[in-house]
């Protein structure tokens, strides 16, 4: 009896062992069969997601912290096909709100997600606005809560989904757009900065996209990776000054009927560009209008990308070189007979007149081409061009804006250089410059001979750390004494001329420039480039303003067209910069000196 019982126990033991073994074997078999690999692959999809995370594009601020380029929320609206319950309802609502084609939307919503090769998700709109999403939310809420009549089926938007993402936004519209450039946000994966700061600092602003595997397992939350945003940029541009300068330029173009215009406000003491207005301008929020705003070869920013023959403003450079080299002094006199023969050509003054005996200030005041030609000859071609190179006219200024250009300087010995070029170059013809080159070079005259690289970025914010951009001293083309002497000469010439560029209460130095425009037959038309460069306060300059109006119709002369624009700009500029009139400034300086002496 006992033996039979033991036998039964043994049988049950063996049976359960066999069952257990069979289960283990089955588990091993299932885990190693080919189908299990496919199941594991499917399971992988539920464990996490592989995605490339694009960092938020960095902001661009003006010098006072006002946002010039930021990001705003926009939505991607799409259909999650496996979740769709009522394709007709979904298509109707989506088509109505997002202004899509109903038939096409219905076609998308009706796709069978289980069919082979079918997508699981379809994007309807990548850039739905907040208002549109609000409408969708209201409709969805209404569908959920509305009371239904008997037998009526509750409408549902299942499958319609929207996810927020960033869109580049320029809150100031076209203000400073020639400096900012634009970001092609419609391409969400390959968007890039074009022109200006957006292109020049594209890599920093964009940050580094990262391929991230995000695990859904909450136990592995420590594996979540943060993708640092792109660097933010603080500009030297002052929004208020920029707006004022753009308005001055618009008024000037309307009044003078010029084809285009440029005004640059530059700090000669450190190279900061305070404002830079050019025409035409584009609203970077609608960058796709680029081709119509900039037809043909129209440059995006004339201040850095368009060279032109500046005319007599270049005489400042010639005079600076001659004074610095000792070829002339302010007291040197020249008998102007109205013409000067050089290299087989005859150089005349702008009015074809003879101005008689002139000192060097008189030559600048009356803008005498003949006198400046004589000065260049006294200086000699080699020294003249050495100075031209020292002032940076043979290269880009290196401003931190995309698309800078410079004109290839012709030098003695080059095939294209002739003796007469020395003469024409001395008064700004036969040599092309960009407004920013002129601002930088003449900035050296304003700032004791020291020439700073122009720049528009003041600092960068990378990973929460601020990096200041230090001013770069490009060179010292002339001595401080020369710079002071020439500044005094230009103050005197401006005041003696009773120029329209004068601003009451402020001592300014400046020079007009009327440059003839060459055609394929030579300088045969009366069309000109009217320019003016000036700075102030002359003894302690805080700004340099460069004005260029292209082909003004109301008058061809810069003294009539460009000088008043300079004056109007400066009148507003001193208010915005808080620069006191000379008498108050001198008084304050005197008090400061007295108090420091008292100490």
């Amino acid at each position: 009896m006992m033996e039979r019982k033991v036998g039964r126990f043994k049988f049950i033991g063996v049976l359960f062992s066999l069952i257990g073994l069979a289960i283990v074997l089955q588990m091993v078999r299932i885990q190693n069969m080919p189908a299990s690999k496919a199941i594991l692959d499917v399971a992988e999809n539920y464990m996490g997601v592989n995605q490339v995370v694009y960092p938020d594009r960095g902001n661009i601020y003006d010098a006072n912290g006002d946002l010039l380029a930021g990001n705003e929320i926009i939505y991607e609206v799409g259909i999650d096909l496996p979740s769709v319950r009522q394709p007709e309802t979904l298509a109707k609502v989506a088509a109505d709100v997002l202004k899509l084609d109903y038939a096409k939307t219905l076609e998308y919503a009706s796709i069978d997600p289980d069919a082979e090769g079918s997508p699981q998700y379809i994007t309807l709109s990548g850039f739905a606005t907040k208002d549109e999403i609000r409408q969708l939310e209201i409709i969805e809420e209404d569908y959920k809560t509305r009371e239904l009549a008997k037998g009526e089926i509750r409408p549902r938007l299942d499958g319609l989904m929207w996810t927020p993402h960033n869109k580049r936004s320029y809150p100031e519209g076209d203000l400073a757009s020639n400096i900012l450039g634009f970001y092609s946000y419609l391409d969400r994966t390959k968007g890039a900065g074009f022109f200006g700061v957006e292109e020049n600092y594209n890599q920093l602003l964009a940050g580094t996209p990262k391929a991230v595997y995000t695990e859904f397992d909450p136990q592995k939350v420590q594996n979540l990776l943060e993708v640092p945003p792109g660097a933010s940029v603080v500009l030297t541009i002052n929004k208020e000054i920029q707006a004022m300068v753009e308005k001055q330029l618009e008024d000037a173009l309307r009044w003078s009927k010029a084809k285009s215009g440029t005004i640059v406000v530059y700090n000669p003491k450190n190279g900061e560009v305070l404002a830079m207005a050019t025409t035409p301008r584009l609203d970077p929020n609608q960058y796709w209008t680029y081709a119509s705003v900039f037809p043909g070869t129209t440059p995006f920013n004339r201040a850095v990308s368009q060279t032109y023959e500046s005319g007599s403003v270049f005489k400042v450079i010639t005079m600076a070189a001659a004074l610095d080299a000792g070829a002339v002094t302010p007291q040197t006199t020249f008998m102007d007979t109205g013409s000067y023969d050089i290299g087989g050509y005859t150089i005349n003054n702008w009015d074809y007149g003879a101005w008689g005996l002139q000192d060097m200030t008189g030559c600048l005041q009356h803008s005498l081409n003949v006198c400046l030609t004589w000065i260049a000859v006294q200086l000699g071609a080699d020294r003249f061009y050495d100075y031209i190179k020292a002032f940076g006219f043979d290269r880009n200024t290196g401003i931190d804006l995309a698309g800078e250009q410079h004109w290839p300087l012709k030098l003695p010995g080059d095939n294209q250089w002739y003796e007469v070029d020395l003469a024409t170059n001395s008064f700004g013809q036969g040599i092309s410059v960009t407004p920013i080159q002129m601002a930088m070079a003449i900035g050296a005259v304003a700032n004791e001979g020291k020439m700073y690289a122009p720049h528009v970025v003041k600092s960068l914010m990378i990973d929460g750390k601020q990096m200041e951009i230090k001013p770069v001293l490009v060179g010292t083309p002339i001595k401080a004494e020369t710079a002071r002497t020439l500044t005094d000469m230009l103050v005197t010439s401006l005041e003696s001329e009773a120029s329209d560029a004068l601003v009451e209460g402020y001592t300014l130095a400046g020079k007009t420039g009327t440059g003839s425009i060459a055609t394929e037959f030579g300088y045969t038309t009366s069309e000109t480039n009217a320019s003016f460069v000036g700075w102030g306060p002359a003894d302690d300059p805080e700004f340099l303003v460069y004005v260029w109006l292209e082909r003004p119709e109301i008058s061809q002369w810069a003294s009539i067209v460009a000088a008043p624009v300079f004056a109007d700009t400066v009148r507003n500029l001193v208010v915005l910069m808080g620069i006191p009139p000379d008498n108050i400034r001198m008084q304050a300086n005197g008090q400061n000196s007295a108090s420091s002496l008292g100490e």
């Binding site: 938020d56 909450p218 136990q219 979540l224 601020q466 507003n572």
Partner: protein, 156 residues
């Protein structure tokens, strides 16, 4: 002699069986306690992990919102908007020629913008995860011992 000694201390079979059962149950209880603890901790970890994921998602969403609101604020205070609004209020641009420069003692003017002192949405740090969720039991134990040793050393 040896046999007598063993025999003298030999347990009764029923007592031995009881001891085996007791040991088995004690081991079972220990395993159940450890398993329960493990389940409890892993459950809490999972809940907290899910909360962290949700907070992370909320942080991302708030970053978008804050950036959006900053941009909206900039749009409202843009040069064009301000000009239009001031015009609506009957204001007009000042003629600089009519302006009078008044010195205000002590007034330094606008200070330079320093973005590192402002609250930058984009520079937020990832929330720190407590060591309880990342360190092992052994590491936690070591840390406690080290802390205790350090306390002993600094104690006068």
């Amino acid at each position: 002699m040896k046999q007598n000694f063993v025999q003298a201390y030999k347990q009764a079979p029923w007592r031995q069986q009881l001891q085996y059962a007791g040991i088995f149950l004690a081991v079972l209880l220990a395993v159940a306690v450890v398993a329960g603890l493990y389940l409890s901790i892993s459950g809490r970890t999972a809940t907290t992990g899910r909360q962290v994921q949700m907070l992370d998602s909320r942080v991302e969403s708030m970053k978008l919102t804050i950036n959006d609101m900053q941009t909206e604020l900039a749009q409202i205070s843009s040069a064009k908007s301000m000009y239009a609004r001031s015009k609506e209020l009957g204001m007009q641009l000042m003629d600089p020629a009519e302006g009078l420069y008044v010195q205000v003692p002590g007034y330094q003017g606008l200070t330079a913008f320093n973005p590192s002192t402002t609250k930058q949405v984009q520079s937020s740090n990832y929330p720190e995860i407590l060591p309880e969720y990342t360190s092992t039991l052994v590491e936690w134990f070591q840390e406690k011992i080290n802390a205790q040793l350090t306390m002993e050393q600094v104690r006068p």
